[in-house]
């Protein structure tokens, strides 16, 4: 090889290496705190199916009206969101607009300086939202008296979805009490049909059952006190009772075999394929039912979640504003982000209505006119609970406590209760220990 060729190749190799080094060192166009920069405008969200379709339409409509500042949407799978969002925020590569789950996430992001204070903006637009000035919205978006996000969709899990074909085939009626539920399990034993579709591999589907039972046994105020470790503890009698309720339901054969081994998708599949009579999940399931790809062959109905004590029915609601939009403080394009919020919050633009049509309980004024009766019923139930005196709507409990308490003990422990592999006393003891450890830091 000639010396000239060797030198040329050497130079190329050094150039390539330098390019890699410079890329690896992260020559990011850091624009912390800037109101506008040349970075691409993006919306990160966790909507899927019809909801993702609605988001795409909203972004497309916005872009048509704002050709100089076009947004690009990115749908992130729910179980990847933790990783992707944290990496984006800490890697100084956040989106312009972020859809996330509010509550504890709002507190964590604000503490890290990652969310923009939009108090002034929100005060000007509060009337664009139903429940806009409610305590429930403040729980999701407010930190130290300042607002950091806007409510978008509200979810509640206060319903059982029913397969009416199975119910009529076996002469079953919708359960109003937990005892009715156990009776249905007795009737369906040996038929190959599962009473309730529940797979708790992800943890939260089982946790929601416990949350619903706990709201009936305790009260929202007691639960909040336990979450704050101020005036109540997780091993207090009412929590033990609700854990016992869940354990007993599992022992009665209400849940399918292998309840801990499969995930939410398998749980949906079991119900949608007609192998289970009932299923409890959140109102987001309406969007799955509206999606042609997942629409079942039967017409689903929804009934209220059964009561443990029919003599003392609970009016309180498990649910929350787990779809909120916030603006990363370091996106470099906070002005564009605020403009996007202006657009989606304006009822005249119909952004909320587009989501309502997909089966989601959107809270922009007027969106309820687009809701199907089943979805409107959930919307009305939340409104009724908010209208009652006191605090009657509580978010999913893992949003109120640190992950070591929520996503670890609540998820794993309640899943173990449903299969009978953990006793109720052990569960509440572990829960309280985890809460104390988290409080101690």
């Amino acid at each position: 090889m000639s010396a000239r060729r060797r030198r040329a190749l050497t130079s190329l190799a050094v150039l390539a290496g330098s390019a890699v080094a410079l890329t690896g060192c992260g020559l990011s166009n850091s624009s912390s705190g800037a109101a506008s920069s040349s970075k691409a405008l993006t919306v990160w969200h966790q909507f899927s199916g019809e909801g993702a379709g609605a988001m795409d339409v909203v972004i497309s409509d916005y872009n048509k009206k704002n050709p100089d500042a076009k947004f690009k949407g990115r749908s992130i799978a729910n179980d990847e969101a933790n990783t992707v969002v944290r990496t984006g925020l800490s890697g100084n590569n956040p989106p312009t607009v972020l859809q996330y789950e509010g509550y504890q996430q709002t507190k964590d992001f604000v503490k890290a300086g990652q969310l923009l204070d939009i108090t002034d903006w929100y005060n000007q637009h509060v009337d664009d939202f139903t429940y806009g000035d409610s305590q429930a919205v403040k729980d999701a978006c407010e930190v130290d008296g300042k607002m950091y996000c806007i409510p978008w969709n509200v979810d509640t899990s206060e319903q059982l979805f029913i397969n009416p074909d199975i119910m009529s085939q076996y002469s079953l009626t919708a359960p109003k009490t937990v005892d009715d539920l156990k009776a249905i399990a007795g009737t369906l034993k040996g038929t190959g049909i599962n009473p309730v579709s529940l797979y708790a591999g992800d943890g939260w589907p089982a946790a929601h059952w416990w949350f619903l039972l706990t709201i009936q046994r305790c009260s929202v105020d007691t639960i909040v006190a336990a979450a704050n470790q101020d005036g109540a503890k997780w091993d207090d009698p009412c929590f033990l009772q609700s854990a016992q309720d869940l354990y007993d339901i599992g022992q009665a054969g209400v849940f399918p075999q292998g309840v801990e081994g499969q995930d939410y998708n398998a749980m949906l599949q079991l119900f949608l394929s007609g192998k289970a009579a009932l299923m409890n999940t959140g109102t987001w399931f309406n969007a799955t039912l509206a999606d042609k790809a997942t629409k079942p062959k039967f017409e689903t109905e929804a009934v209220a979640f059964p009561q443990v004590d029919p003599a003392k029915p609970s009016q309180q609601i498990l649910g929350g504003f787990t779809n909120v939009f916030g603006l990363p403080a370091n996106s470099g394009n906070t002005d564009a982000g605020l403009k996007f919020l202006d657009y989606i919050a304006d009822p005249a633009n119909g952004a909320g209505a587009k989501f309502a049509k997909t089966g989601l309980v959107n809270v922009i004024i007027g969106a309820d006119k687009e809701m199907e009766p089943r979805v409107k019923a959930s919307y009305d139930a939340i409104a009724a609970a908010l209208a009652l005196p006191g605090n009657n709507v509580i978010a999913y409990f893992e949003n109120l406590v640190p992950p070591s308490v929520g996503e670890d003990i609540m998820y794993n422990g309640t899943a173990a209760l449903t299969s009978g592999s953990m006793k109720p006393q052990d569960y509440v003891t572990q829960l309280q220990q985890a809460a104390e450890a988290a409080a101690a830091g």
Binding site: L9, T10, G17, A266
Partner: protein, 323 residues
Amino acid sequence: MTTVARPTEHQRETLTTAEQPRDTRQRRKSHIAGTSKVGAAGFILPGYFFYAGFLLIPLVLTILLSFTNWNGIGYNTIQGNGVKNYVKLVNDPVFLQALVHNGVFLATTVILKVVLAFALALAVRRAFPGGGFFRAVFVIPSILSLIVVSLLLKFLVDPNNGLINPLLRSIGLGAFAGSWLGDPSRALPVLIGLDVWLGFGLFLFVFLAGMSALPADVSEAAKVDGAKPWQETWFVTIPLLAPTFRLVVLLGCIESLKVFATVYVATSGGPNHSTEVLATWAFFQAFTGNQVGYGSAIMSVLLVATLILAVFYVRANQKGNIQ
């Protein structure tokens, strides 16, 4: 006085070393030496930057982060907390449980993979009709995507919608049907079985490569001396394959220590931590638990365990070479 004309570029290229003037040879020698070093560095640098950027730097940062209480959301929240994370490890029952699971994983998967791979290598090392087909079939699992295989496993063992339970019932083994990944006593063995199936093929080929390099005269001498096949295997083949065994055991140990994808996709460490391993627990702590510092401490323990294995391997190899 005679002057020596400086050779032209062409002469430097085309004259042999002996033909070139002496001063030119000396300059050329140093020129060649310098060019080689620069050239070598130039070709090594890109690989080095990749190595540094994707391995060394993350490794060092992980160790440094293990001494902080960082929540992973913003750099301004990084604060040192001494050895608190390591003290927390000792008192964390899930960490200890995960450590035991990794140990069980290591012991069972290494033994099963090595035994299975060696036995099959003995069976297929000589040419026979269909031998190529079997060799290909055995290696296919090792090239499959871990994510896809884990998802398929979840589907197959679904007690209500899967295929395994109906299959067992149809062949009269219904007593074994049940919850596979949902049963704490079965979930880990199922994952171990999956890991063995995925990994033994690669070891098979390592053994085949080692066997092909064995001197044929030793085996023939053993046969001449009247050794039976099992005696030849036990007294000749296995001792000669000692370095291969060491390599395979080391690779198996490292793989089982860093197992993550199959466990995360199939069970996420459940039910109730009964399949939790160090990597999945570290992942939970870092990305769900807002405890990147603690997660880094867990991974640092994993690093130390891997380094200890590597040291054992190197020493065993050196001892083997001396013998």
